[in-house]
């Protein structure tokens, strides 16, 4: 009996009127966990009942605690007929199961009904008493922390990064059970919500077990998805990266120390064990090994005893404590060997992380991806996970071999997705092939790591660009040059990756969002014919998406893509491809060449003229973009350094080919044969249109930037003014004009218009950057295209940026010479250090106008001078044997600490309802995350049979999304948090039937609930950590009053 769950129902408010006669409600509450139900008394005739119930106690297994949600149902008592349900609240009690997360869940929860939406609120208090049970044959994995964040969470330090964990569970979809024909839509929706809640609990528990088995204590980059397969079932699957995390717990960790975890490593004695569970599980490990296989994909019968893989695996990751890390004679070859051996033991050396501790990422090969088309109705035994496991294993194997072909032994920024239409399912996986530093992968002492790092002598800011593969034996035709930064290693001319921009990368200018959009018509077909048709189309789509990306990148004058995400969506009669990435100019890579246009009929004079006109337009665009994104690569640097450049620039331009992006690993040669890819041949009207569409992509209005990565290269001075939003658009295609070309145009317009609308809506936040822009496309019906965008707009202080680049270089120069340890700071942390809010924009406008006169030239001057400083500095740093410079000019917080002390906190302090921020980023600008409270993973269904009355489809979905936000915020507030980071809307499935006046929508969201404190508040209480901790919690608590 390892756990006691205690629940108290305090009160309700704003309940709906359930009795028309009295305009009142006789409400009572049912509290259910597992199979036990308690009831409160009926509180008669009130819309604001005060139940003040006793503590309802559930004595349960911790396995159930992990799987089951607490289910609270509010009902209206009716003497004569059945009691009417008002609505429900599902509470995931998982956050109460970690030792250091939330201790109590207490607050107002919206009462949710799948037909009526939110109907009032209920105040609930939940507590858990856990008893440790050491010797038991463990089924549960209480205590393993889960993070959606795809980097090492702030205020933790990675001791070991173990690697990939995955799990998949299948169940029958209640919507397709026979009983669904006779039950009400409400009952059906609730059955589905409950089932998914149960399944994700189970999934999380199983993943947790695998983590414990690997001797880890946390999962980072946890991504859980649903596949609504229809008849064949409902799949919940998750992937993540198992880690051993250590909490940075000294009070000093708050201010300076949090910035420099590596320093922290030295100071904190390694006795701080955040989680007794991890170690207590030690004795039982052998037992576990036999029951749970690390790689279910290989051992398809998961309940059966172990396959040989896990036995060979466990000792390497778990037991080999402290060996490899310490002894490292860190020559590069050896390093690679070590890493290889560490990684090759793993079946899948994959990491879902997109940002890494400094020094972790050694080289980046390029994007690897794999897709496969499957037929769902061919699943032999649909209720069992074997078939799906096999499918995914196949794909992962392919990814692994692609990575190998690129000379890499690991894949980072790894993700998986599906697209389902009727019985056809496309499974996709993608990631970035990489070479990693082994020291985080094995158990080693911190000192060892540090020394190793110091001796490595890796060139800062460009190391990751250097090719990992053999130059003489390249996996694909690519054009290599010596690194423009260190002049020692070879680099490709273009680099595509799925990860965030490494914090130490040297970037010139700003980045921008680059999208490739594509539609392909497909004949309606059945089963195999359909699958074949799709399989045949896929390579062409990949190829075209790739070409588009490359062209757009060139047009922007940039040479690298980060955060690349290619989504292929299948519909009844078409396939859609949408690729988003953030383009940047990496200083280490060569300057991209232009785009040449060639006509097919060179004799025609007017045609020639037209071509040259187009060419001019393209050249102008490139020039304009370079100016817009402030890309001024320092041409002079070559002379200064005087290092030999293997090929003259001209030649490199001629020889440029479609290199680096490794998409060819999908068994497709993207290198255009031997032809120069950047000569665009205009041989028909389609090609002409393509060129036109390249040029019609409108840049964002001035003052706006956008990217799909965490932070925007080149902007560092975020204010605390953030606005997370979701925007959804559905268009209906008129079936008359269904040609590929018209389709492309429609889709392109849809995306462009959506972006334009966003820029317009958020214009009051200028200067501002849309970060983590995440587009998803779905094809809910034949002629409908749905695009969903979630992103966060963050205002930055333009003026501050200009002033401080210089100041910062000076400052850091000083630092570099005085304090070597300071160099070990996480630049990312610094970024989040930026200023607290100006309460309102007028001040900003003023600043802006002040800067507009002299601003831009000054910036350029600064940039030039700072560039030289940078090079000098780098030289210095390398000589000193430090591993990395923090001095990427673009990246650090400019604020003198004195500055934000004077500013007041956010103006909303006196709010009745505590403000909960939501952001898809892993940090909150101007604030420090002081505590992670647990994962938020929620699934909602909303249905209506009175669509018109609720304001049509737009009104319906608008209200629903607002409600979902509200429920997420309420849960976070009840946990004592004041923000959700790494928030993601993983699914938004919308179906309508306007003729029947009906619509249904399913939404799945997740994120990490956190407590953050403003920089300014922190300074006041920096000496007393507890005070800082409780402060935000208190404001959260006020919600209940």
């Amino acid at each position: 009996m390892p756990g006691k769950l205690k629940v108290k129902i305090v009160a309700g408010r704003h309940l709906p009127v359930m009795d028309r006669a009295s305009d009142l409600t006789d409400a009572f509450v049912e509290v259910k966990f597992g199979n036990t139900t308690f009831k409160t008394d009926v509180y008669p005739k009130s819309l604001n009942p005060q139940w003040n119930s006793e503590w309802f106690k559930f004595e349960v297994d911790d396995e159930d605690l992990q799987d089951e949600p607490l289910q609270i149902t509010v009902l209206d008592h009716d003497t004569y007929s059945a009691n009417d349900a008002i609505g429900k609240v599902y509470i995931d009690i998982d956050p109460l199961l970690y030792s250091e997360a939330a201790t109590v869940i207490s607050g107002w929860f919206p009462i949710y009904d799948t037909i009526h939406g939110i109907r009032g609120e209920i105040n609930v208090v939940v507590k858990v008493d856990l008893f440790n049970d050491l010797n038991r044959f463990r089924q549960s994995s209480c205590g393993v922390k889960f993070f959606c964040t795809t980097s090492i969470p702030k205020c933790y330090r990675a001791v070991i990064i173990h690697g990939f964990v995955e799990e998949l569970v299948v169940n029958e979809d209640p919507e397709y059970q026979w009983i669904d024909r006779i039950r009400t839509p409400r009952a059906s929706n609730e059955a589905r919500q409950r089932l998914i809640s149960l399944m994700s609990g189970e999934l999380q528990r199983k993943i947790g077990l695998k983590v414990l088995e690997m001797r880890g204590n946390a999962v980072v980059g946890y991504l859980q998805c649903f596949d609504l397969e229809g008849e064949s079932g409902l799949v919940v699957r998750a992937i993540g990266t198992a880690c051993t995390l250590d909490k940075l717990s000294s009070p000093a960790a708050f201010l300076p120390a949090c910035n420099s975890p590596s320093k922290e490593m030295k100071e904190i004695p390694f006795n701080e064990d955040p989680n007794p569970n991890t170690h207590s599980s030690g004795p039982s490990t052998p037992l576990k090994n036999q029951t749970y296989s690390f790689s279910p994909s290989k051992s398809y019968s998961r309940q059966s005893s172990s396959s040989d893989t896990d036995l060979s695996l466990t000792p390497k990751t778990g037991m080999g404590s402290g060996s490899a890390g310490k002894e490292g004679g860190p020559f590069k070859a050896l390093l690679r060997q070590q890493t290889q051996s560490a990684l090759e033991q793993r079946e899948f050396p994959f990491f879902t992380l997109t940002a890494f501790p400094p020094g972790f990422l050694v080289h980046v090969g390029g994007v690897v991806s794999a897709r496969s088309v499957k037929l769902l109705d061919r699943i032999h035994n649909p209720d069992e996970p074997e078939t799906r496991d096999a499918w995914w294993a196949e794909i992962r194997q392919e990814i692994k071999s692609h990575a190998k072909a690129l000379g890499c032994h690991a894949v980072v920024g790894y993700s998986e997705s599906t697209s389902i239409c009727e019985e056809v399912c496309i499974l996709s996986a993608s990631g970035t092939a990489a070479v990693l530093n082994p020291r985080f992968l094995q158990d080693g002492t911190v000192e060892g790591c540090l020394e190793q790092r110091l001796e490595e002598n890796l060139p800062a800011g460009c190391g990751f660009c250097h090719i990992p593969y053999d130059e003489l034996n390249m996996p694909f035709p690519a054009h290599l040059t010596y690194c423009y930064n260190c002049r020692k290693q070879k680099v490709p001319d273009v680099l595509f990756t799925t990860i965030d921009l490494p914090t130490d990368a040297t970037v010139i200018g700003k980045g921008c969002l680059i999208q490739a959009r594509l539609c392909r018509l497909k004949k309606k077909a059945q089963a195999e014919a359909n699958a074949t048709a799709i399989s045949n189309l896929l390579p062409f789509m990949e190829y075209e998406v790739h070409t588009q990306l490359m062209n757009k990148l060139k047009l922007k004058g940039m040479n690298a893509l980060f955060g690349l995400r290619i989504q292929i969506t299948v519909g009844e009669n078409m396939l859609m491809g949408l690729a988003s990435a953030t383009g940047v100019y990496l200083a280490a890579l060569p300057t991209p060449g232009g785009i040449q246009i060639a006509g097919k009929t060179p004799n025609d004079g007017s045609y020639e003229q037209h071509i040259s006109h187009m060419q001019k337009k393209i050249n102008d665009t490139i020039a304009k973009n370079k100016e817009l994104y402030e890309i001024n690569p320092p041409e002079i640097s070559e002379e200064i350094i005087g290092s030999p450049i293997p090929e003259p620039r001209q030649r490199s331009r001629l020889l440029r080919s479609q290199s680096e992006s490794s998409d060819e690993v999908t068994e497709l040669d993207l290198s255009h044969g031997k032809k120069d890819a950047f000569v665009l041949e205009i041989d028909d009207t389609d090609a002409m249109e393509d060129v036109h569409s390249l040029l019609t992509d409108v840049p964002p209005p001035s003052g706006f930037y956008s990217c799909n990565t965490e932070i925007m290269p080149g902007i560092n001075n975020w204010t605390s003014e953030i606005q997370m939003f979701t925007s959804v658009r559905v268009i209906r295609l008129s079936s008359l004009n269904l040609t590929n070309h018209a389709l492309n145009k429609n889709f392109n317009d849809l995306c462009e218009n959506l972006l334009k609308s966003l820029y317009f809506k958020l214009r009051s936040m200028i200067p501002c950057c849309l970060c983590h822009v995440n587009f998803t496309v779905s094809l809910p019906e034949d002629e409908l295209i749905q695009v969903t965008v979630t992103a966060v707009a963050i205002t930055f202080d333009k003026n501050q940026a200009l002033q401080t680049t210089k100041a910062h270089v000076e400052k850091s120069l000083q630092r570099a010479s005085t304090d070597n340890e300071e160099l070990l700071q996480f630049p990312l942390e610094l970024c989040s250090d930026s200023l607290p809010s100006h309460p309102f924009p007028p001040a900003k406008e003023h600043l802006e106008s002040a800067s507009s006169n002299s601003g831009i030239p000054a910036a350029q001057r600064d940039r030039c001078s700072s560039w030289i400083e940078l090079i000098k500095l780098k030289a210095q740093t390398i000589r000193r044997g430090s591993i990395k410079t923090t001095v990427t000019v673009e990246k650090t917080s400019p604020m003198g600490e004195g500055n934000f002390r004077n500013r007041s906190a956010a103006p909303c302090a006196n709010s009745t309802v505590g403000v909960v921020k939501m952001t898809p980023l892993s940090f909150i600008p101007g604030a420090k995350i002081t505590k992670y409270l647990g994962i938020i993973n929620m699934f909602f269904i909303r249905e209506t049979t009175s669509l018109r009355e609720e304001g049509g489809v737009s009104g319906f979905l608008h209200a629903f999304i607002a409600e979902v936000f509200a429920m997420v915020r309420a849960h976070v507030a009840a946990l004592g948090g004041n923000a959700v980071v790494s928030y993601i809307m993983k699914q938004c499935v919308f179906m309508e039937n306007p003729n029947k006046n009906q619509a249904q929508c399913l939404i799945n969201v997740s994120g990490d609930a956190v407590v953050f404190a403003r920089e300014s508040e922190l300074e006041v209480v920096s000496t007393q950590q507890p005070a800082a901790n409780c402060q935000p919690a208190c404001t959260g608590g006020e919600v209940t009053t």
Partner: protein, 357 residues
């Protein structure tokens, strides 16, 4: 290509003040878009008309969803669905409950009933305010009236507490509720020169001095209804004009005091009896509901108009009214000094406010 669905939901609800105003003013989405285009926003932002249309629709939908909460402002503060900064919440509420001067003058003192609501078409045509906006304003009046109608305590406080309005707006609503409850006639032609502010000023004085709340703060409706007993007692003032000696004495006291100080002395001397009779008769008639309703008509007819036709400057009116009220204290035969002060103190304030062109 047609847009089937187009929404934007922010974690913090975006409120565009300009669009909010257009929505409150009752413009349709189409009209609002046209007005926004005319404001030059497209040129400023480089947006297209389609973007503007989508933006406007979105804001309208948000406002529509918020409207339910605006009907009970405390709900807006406690709800969890829309995260809105407090300053924005205050703005939403204040603007929603704001009203047009032209509109309020049409309905002030009328019964807030279905019947009046039917006349909103005419008011809309007459004032040029959209029918939608008229309805919102009317419903606001009615809603506030219903909520505070049977409550204890100060009217202004009650309005403020239940509708979270600013002090200024809460006072205005108190006046509207007070007028609606007592059904004071304000629509007559000769009252057209008076602004809502004039009436609101009088309402505040009357609430302070003439209602039950002025003597007892523990009764229901204390600020809504006039003190019946007080109105009954006012009959006693009749003697001031009915008793010829008393009237003459009063006149001579006033004339003596004001001789040489008043620019319009002779006119005053000639008119004294008429004016005094007018003011006292207004008091004695207040027992009848009908006459209560006509209070302002009577005041204008019996006092404001005669003085105005003789071109009394405001300063003279003030001197006269001060002396007129004060002199009664020197009338030995008159025993209702307190009553007189309660009546005349308020009336003097009202008259001075009403006395303008």
């Amino acid at each position: 290509m047609t847009s089937e669905l187009d929404i934007f939901v922010g974690n913090t609800t975006l409120i565009d003040e300009d669009v909010y105003r257009l929505w409150l003013d009752g413009y349709s989405v189409g009209d609002a878009v046209a007005l926004r285009v005319r404001s030059g926003i497209l040129e400023q932002t480089g947006a297209t008309a389609a973007v503007l249309q989508s933006d406007t629709m979105d804001h309208y939908r948000t406002f529509h969803m918020l409207e339910r909460l605006l009907h009970a402002p405390p709900k807006l503060l406690h709800q969890l669905i829309y995260q809105i900064p407090p300053s924005r919440q205050a703005l939403l509420i204040e603007r929603y409950y704001a009203f047009d001067e032209a509109f309020v003058r049409e309905v002030l003192g009328k019964k807030l009933s279905k019947g009046t609501k039917k006349d909103l078409d005419d008011i809309s045509t007459k004032t040029g305010i959209t029918l939608k906006s008229c309805r919102r304003q009317f419903d606001n009046f009615k809603r506030v009236f219903k909520v505070v109608e049977e409550m204890r305590g100060s009217l202004v406080d009650n309005v403020q507490q239940h509708f979270l309005l600013s002090d200024r707006l809460a006072r205005d609503y108190a006046a509207i509720v007070f007028f609606a409850n007592n059904r004071f006639e304000t629509g007559k032609k000769k009252l057209q020169y008076l602004s809502f502010g004039d009436f609101a000023f009088c309402a505040e004085l009357m609430i302070q001095n003439w209602t039950l709340g002025a003597v007892d703060s523990q009764v229901d409706d204390m600020d809504m209804d006039l003190d019946k007993e007080f109105l009954q007692d006012l009959k006693e003032l009749k003697v001031l004009v009915a008793d010829k000696d008393l009237l003459d004495l009063h006149k001579s006291l006033v004339c003596t005091a004001l001789r040489g100080k008043l620019g319009v002395f002779s006119e005053m001397e000639a008119n004294f009896k008429n004016l005094s009779r007018g003011l006292v008769n207004v008091a004695t008639k207040l027992t009848h509901n009908k006459d209560v309703r006509d209070l302002f008509v009577d005041l204008v007819e019996k006092f404001v108009e005669p003085c105005r036709s003789d071109h009394w400057p405001l300063s003279d009116v003030r001197l006269f009214l001060n002396q007129y009220s004060a002199s009664v204290h020197s009338l030995d035969g008159f025993r209702h000094q307190a009553l007189w002060d309660r009546y005349m103190g308020t009336l003097r304030g009202c008259l001075l406010r009403l006395y303008h062109d």
